[in-house]
């Protein structure tokens, strides 16, 4: 599915819930799901899908390749890590980052992937990463992932380093989870189920970035009759479920140095609406930049444990297509 030079793909990470929970769900089943979604390109995350990591066995590699081939699918990108805390008590040094990058590049080559979503690479090792990318013929992408935002100083510093090095082998993999503007509906559903008041939840969402502290927000919620369910929401919203105004200007600066995108999402409703992430604006910027490449749908709603990855991915791909074809996202 190629729309104006933009090709949709699916990250197998989206199938994580079933992968972890259902012993009978195999890599072949997983690729059947991808095939059913009508896309060709997929991303495989090594530490999720292989029994051995960072270096899977030859049998594991062969199995993925054979299953992809048989379904006409293309392993586009390989998801790596820098498990530099693997050795207990050892403070990571350059050698550790280089080792894991090398291992993942080797695996990417074996899988036939020309893109690696690399684990952490310290800034001063980026020139080496560019050289390795060239040698292995695998582009190295550094993910920009929540809670980071494109405008963050360290991201901009990396951008400057990409420009300085000047190798097209290096670039970003922006993850749209950076642009969450409000909690996904299934997240709210949990607080509601715990007895939270929807009106108060909306109050919290509106005031998350009004300058109030976590405690101040809770004080105001309490005044309005809120309790433990709302407190849980506040704690989450100020913590790992953080959100805020999307850093679209920052996003635009990454586009010239982007390898491909993780089109992260949590929930698309039956009307193909997702107020969580400003997908229309993001895709608009991508198209405007002249980017040609892959938009990898990455479902992360398994956090809500609804077992709905396949249906959610179907909706998300449809939503993207509608936007890219010029229809409205909403």
């Amino acid at each position: 599915m190629n729309i104006g030079g933009i090709e949709q793909g699916v990250s197998l990470y989206g199938f994580d819930q079933r992968w972890v929970e259902d012993p009978d769900y195999t890599i072949e089943d997983c690729l059947d799901d991808v095939h059913e979604l009508g896309v060709q390109r997929f991303e495989l995350v090594g530490a999720v899908f292989f029994d051995r990591y960072p270096r899977p066995s030859v049998q594991e590699i062969d199995r993925v390749r054979a299953a992809a081939d048989r379904r006409g699918l293309v392993p586009f990108s390989y998801g790596g890590y820098a498990d530099v805390g693997r050795i207990t008590g050892h403070e990571p040094v350059d050698e550790d980052y280089i080792l894991d990058l090398t291992a993942d590049l080797m695996t990417a080559v074996e899988l036939g992937c020309h893109h690696l979503r690399a684990g952490a690479v310290p800034l001063h090792l980026l020139p080496l990463a560019a050289m390795l990318a060239e040698q292995y013929d695998v582009n190295v992408g550094i993910e920009v992932h929540a809670p980071s935002k494109p405008s963050d100083p360290d991201v901009q510093q990396m951008l400057a380093e990409f420009e300085r090095i000047g190798s097209r082998r290096l670039g970003f993999v922006p993850d749209f989870g950076c642009f969450i503007e409000r909690p996904a509906e299934p997240a709210l559903a949990r607080y509601l189920a715990a007895g939270a008041d929807r009106r108060l939840l909306e109050f919290v969402i509106e005031n998350r970035h009004s300058g109030m502290t976590e405690d101040e927000v809770f004080a105001r919620v309490r005044e309005q009759g809120g309790g433990q369910a709302e407190r849980m929401a506040i704690s989450d919203f100020f913590g790992f479920l953080s959100f805020g105004p999307a850093d679209l200007d920052g996003f635009a600066t990454l586009l010239p140095w982007t390898q491909y995108f993780h089109s992260k999402f949590y929930h698309v409703d039956a009307q193909l609406e997702d107020p969580t992430i400003p997908l229309e604006k993001l895709l608009g910027a991508i198209v405007a930049s002249g980017f040609r490449g892959v938009l990898m749908s990455e479902y992360e709603g398994h956090a809500f444990h609804n077992g709905d990855a396949l249906e959610q991915l179907r909706r998300h791909l449809l939503l993207e297509r509608r936007i890219l074809s010029g229809g409205s996202g909403r």
């Binding site: 819930q17 929970e21 051995r52 990591y53 890590y81 820098a82 498990d83 693997r86 956090a303 809500f304």
Partner: protein, 145 residues
């Protein structure tokens, strides 16, 4: 930076219904095996296990009775921290062998306290993201294989 441990919603995969099994040797029952799944979205090296405790029917199993079996390799609890080349995949439960004489047939309340280090989430010198893989469940002792 949060000090809260990550706890994912795959907690029912930690102790699956058939996870507790009697071990019978030539002269009768000697103990049990417990298969432990990872409540995480990806696999982790065994060396990232920072804390492991097992209780059965409220009684703590002594550490020296815990014998882990991973991909045929046998490891006492004390050796886990060094086992950095052994990868605990989300698809393959880690087996712990406990030879304490055997369990009565029927149901047992099993509790696992499990804390793992996230080897890619470095927060600072010696500080890493932490994963809570703990679970408890009533399991019915399966017959020896």
């Amino acid at each position: 930076m949060t000090t809260t441990y990550l706890k994912l919603p795959y907690v029912d995969s930690v102790l699956r219904p058939g996870a507790l099994r009697a071990v019978v040797l030539a002269r009768g029952p000697v103990g049990f095996t417990l298969d432990i799944g990872l409540n995480y979205y990806r696999g982790l090296p065994l060396s990232t296990i920072e804390r492991f405790e097992l209780t059965v029917d409220g009684e703590r199993i002594a550490d020296h009775l815990l014998l882990f079996e991973h991909d045929r390799t046998l490891l006492p609890l004390s050796a886990l921290a060094q086992a950095f080349t052994e990868f605990w995949s989300v698809k393959k439960p880690l087996r712990v062998r406990v030879y304490q004489g055997g369990l009565a047939s029927g149901d047992h309340e099993v509790g696992v306290t499990l804390v793992l280090r996230s080897p890619y989430m470095r927060l600072g010198p010696g500080a890493w993201g932490m994963i809570d893989g703990s679970a408890s469940r009533t399991l019915t002792l399966q017959e020896a294989e």
